[in-house]
Symmetry: C2
Subunit: 500 residues, 2 copies
């Protein structure tokens, strides 16, 4: 193989993969946003065909030969090219270790399993889902052993979702969190509860949409390249490259904060993706590098900036203008307290900033025990409910609002949850570093996201997947990751809101 041709082929391969990713991503996005109700089968038909084609493109003999040749020429390649080859080969090498018939069977099972989980959740019927979950645990254990026989299987999956992560680090991280968060929650509970009445009412969808677009503009999202649609569950997706990004939201007339903060959250993801250097487009280096870093950005915008005092003061007049009747009895301080109300609750995705990590911790402890064979799937609901009582002091009334609430396990994504908590903690440490050069509070009061965006772009966004998550952290923090920044941040927030 000739080197210059191989370098060109590397570009072509990624351009083709981006085109298929655009097509398949858009078909899924259309299914979530616009498509008529009865068209899922038609989409499945097309996605099935395109999956087969892209699987062949990504892992076929020509591609493997190309990448292995390039991998043997490391010294001749640029840093970028080497990173591309590394990332492209990573999946192939995993696949090469898994017996093909097992992989196909797993993929098929995953589709069924997600489907069964959907109905099981609606009917609060864990028993119907349990046999699938057992098989998913089993597959994930076996795959980890095929891929890395010398590694603990759960460590293997933690590292897959957030490169560099393992149980030891998670245990230390969650241990530190738990030690200070549990007393913090008790401290808040001992004080008179704050009211979130100003967020409840009857908020017109069209005005909520106006607010959503206004928030996108305030955040500095480029609406020429970032679209907003509505869906049942909000998400963010890139189509083909970071040059076409979509965020989604859901308007609840009775709850102002839901759409507002999901727009800011998804907007944070979109800022990260669209902040990739322009010339990373149509390569595997385009967009965010890991779940943990992605959540560090989404939760930074949603919570650290979005629920700050300065931003509350800035945004409140806009809320008054859009919803004059509903907001008449309230001040910006009421709004600030309302969006920072701490209260143990059942559902992770609706949890406040302080109790959120306990939801994640419960999932971490349970999947660690599942993967270690210390917990049987059939005992999971009891274990779940016990931990909700222990960690959050609440009783789980049914499995729908308990162990069946999240989709992750149904597709075998064990090891995914910790990145939500890690990302939140990263963000607080970024904030501390950012404040060394940026007057964040002053900027928030003016609703000027420019300085913070500039800092994030410089330290995080522009690299796409060129740097590893560890390199990004080092780059942005300038010192080792330390969860006490996050705990200090949460304690200060609670003191301010609850006045202790």
């Amino acid at each position: 193989m000739e080197l210059e041709q191989a370098r060109k082929d590397l570009v072509t391969l990624q351009v083709k993969m981006s085109a298929y990713s655009h097509a398949m991503g858009l078909i899924s996005y259309d299914g979530e946003t616009t498509a008529p109700r009865g068209t899922a089968g038609n989409r499945a038909q097309t996605l099935g065909i395109l999956s087969e084609i892209t699987y062949q493109l990504s892992t076929g003999a020509d591609t493997v030969a190309l990448l292995e040749y390039l991998d043997s020429q490391k010294e001749q390649l640029t840093e970028r090219e080497n990173r591309m080859v590394y990332l492209l080969l990573k999946d192939i090498r995993f696949m090469q270790k898994i017996p093909q018939e097992e992989y196909v069977a797993f993929e098929k099972l995953a589709v069924e399993s997600e489907d069964v989980w959907h109905s099981a959740k609606i009917n609060s019927d864990f028993a119907s889902f349990a046999p699938y979950l057992e098989k998913m645990v089993d597959y994930r254990l076996r795959f980890a052993r095929y891929a890395a026989p010398d590694m603990d299987p759960y460590d293997y999956w933690l590292n897959e979702f957030e490169p560099g992560l393992n149980r030891e680090k998670c245990d230390a991280f969650f241990g530190q969190l738990k030690a200070r968060l549990v007393p913090l929650i008790h401290q808040c509970a001992a004080r008179p509860q704050v009211s979130d009445q100003c967020l409840k009412g009857n908020f017109d969808d069209a005005r909520q949409e106006t607010l959503a677009y206004w928030l996108m503009d305030v955040m500095g999202l480029d609406r020429d390249h970032v679209g907003l649609s509505t869906t049942e569950h909000p998400f963010t997706t890139s189509l083909g490259s970071h040059l076409d990004e979509r965020i989604t939201t859901h308007y609840y007339p009775e709850d102002l904060s839901s759409s507002m903060f999901s727009v800011i959250h998804e907007g944070g993801h979109a800022l990260y993706d669209t902040g990739s250097d322009e010339d990373l487009a149509y390569t595997v280096l385009d967009g965010g590098v890991s779940m943990g870093i992605h959540e560090s950005q989404s939760r930074f915008y949603e919570n650290i900036l979005g629920r700050s005092k300065g931003f509350a003061r800035f945004i409140f007049p806009k809320l008054q203008a859009l919803f004059p009747e509903e907001m008449k009895p309230y001040t910006w301080q009421d709004f600030y307290k309302a969006v920072n109300k701490v209260q143990p609750s059942l559902i992770r995705t609706e949890a406040d900033e302080v109790t959120y990590c306990l939801h994640v911790m419960i999932r971490y402890e349970l999947e660690k025990r599942l993967m270690a064979g210390e917990l049987e799937v059939r005992d999971l609901p009891r274990a779940w409910n016990g931990m909700y009582r222990e960690y959050l002091g609440i009783d789980v009334p049914d499995d729908r609002r308990g162990v069946l609430q999240d989709s992750h396990w149904s597709s075998g994504a064990f090891g995914y949850f910790p990145s939500y908590a890690l990302g939140s903690a990263y963000g607080a440490q970024f904030l501390a570093k950012m404040k060394e050069t940026v007057d964040v509070d002053a900027a928030l009061e003016k609703g000027d996201f420019g300085p913070m965006n500039q800092w994030n772009r410089e330290h995080i966004w522009r690299y796409g997947c060129l740097l590893t998550p560890a390199q990004i952290l080092e780059n942005a923090m300038g010192q080792p990751f330390d969860p006490s920044y996050y705990l200090n941040y949460l304690e200060a927030k609670c003191k301010d809101v609850y006045g202790f």
Copy 2:
């Protein structure tokens, strides 16, 4: 090659082509409906890659070998299979006759030409577009000579857009139309003009949308498989198969009729596409067979049913309920007259039912002369304006509202326009035949489209592309095509509305 394997490969080929068509169709649809403004380049990138891949899939050596083998085994194949092979080979055989570099140059020019036309139209600047149009005429002439050296080039293209059509048939058809339409328009003009004031006002978008969905339900469109979105220019598209159909509309607050009749028009296209027999999905036989038959359905629903007296009576109470203030001064008879007002105008797509065909005729005469070398491109605006004066009695104030109004010629689609008029005329003859077994007027007064849909499904829709357009006509008319049905229909309508 083994026959049974080849038959399976024929299925697989079409399933793959459907998947790519779904992906590419959706990317275009997204661009027209939802995508952020600045993402055209990103879409062009993906569509460029996917076009190359599908071109290779449709015309590559493996595909040609497969289809030529199957073509040699005609007697062993079913009627359906033979029709599939014929339709798939048709394009390949055309491509085989065109020198590849000329085809590539043409495709590239077409993109530029459409782009230049867009700006030329906005600026009413024919001179900037003329060099492109000259080249498009030239390419289309050469391609026709390559493809069918013994045929007149314009006949070749007429037959491409509507199989079976040629200049002789068009001349006869348009001759008959002109002979009776011109006096008819004069007769209407001699009577007091009817008022369309009830269609003008300030009609809320959200209520127009409610009306649009209501119309879809009334028409019997299956909203589980047919979606509605908004666009600048309304259109209809199938995604992957007739199981996912999309129509679009545009709400003008000042004009109630625009969105209303475009929903019925596009809904007619959608009824036709989605009416294909279920097992035609994912084959080249799925969906409508030709432009002429497609327009026969869209214009049948829009005009023959949608602007009928019975339907006006049925729909008016709904309009009163949605727009009580605007509709208060009017009766259903006012509404019926308003939507049937005859008045020569500048723009084809906004023309009334009676003058519409004259717009088409002007385009037909001009492109016939262009393709015959009897008219130079530079003389086109003068010729256009002269014919508008002669046929419609109006002066064209600028090329934007004249020769530059339609996009068709910018992409080289000479020979496309006649199918609009033919389709309208087909529809009137279908109506006559339909009335032999269906009480259309009674059904319309009840807003019951079931019997007409049933008839169309039985005679037209279910065949998809299995039958030729000529076979469909024979099937539905039971006698040769005769434009006098259409002329009788228009004369009766005018007599009723203008009272002569």
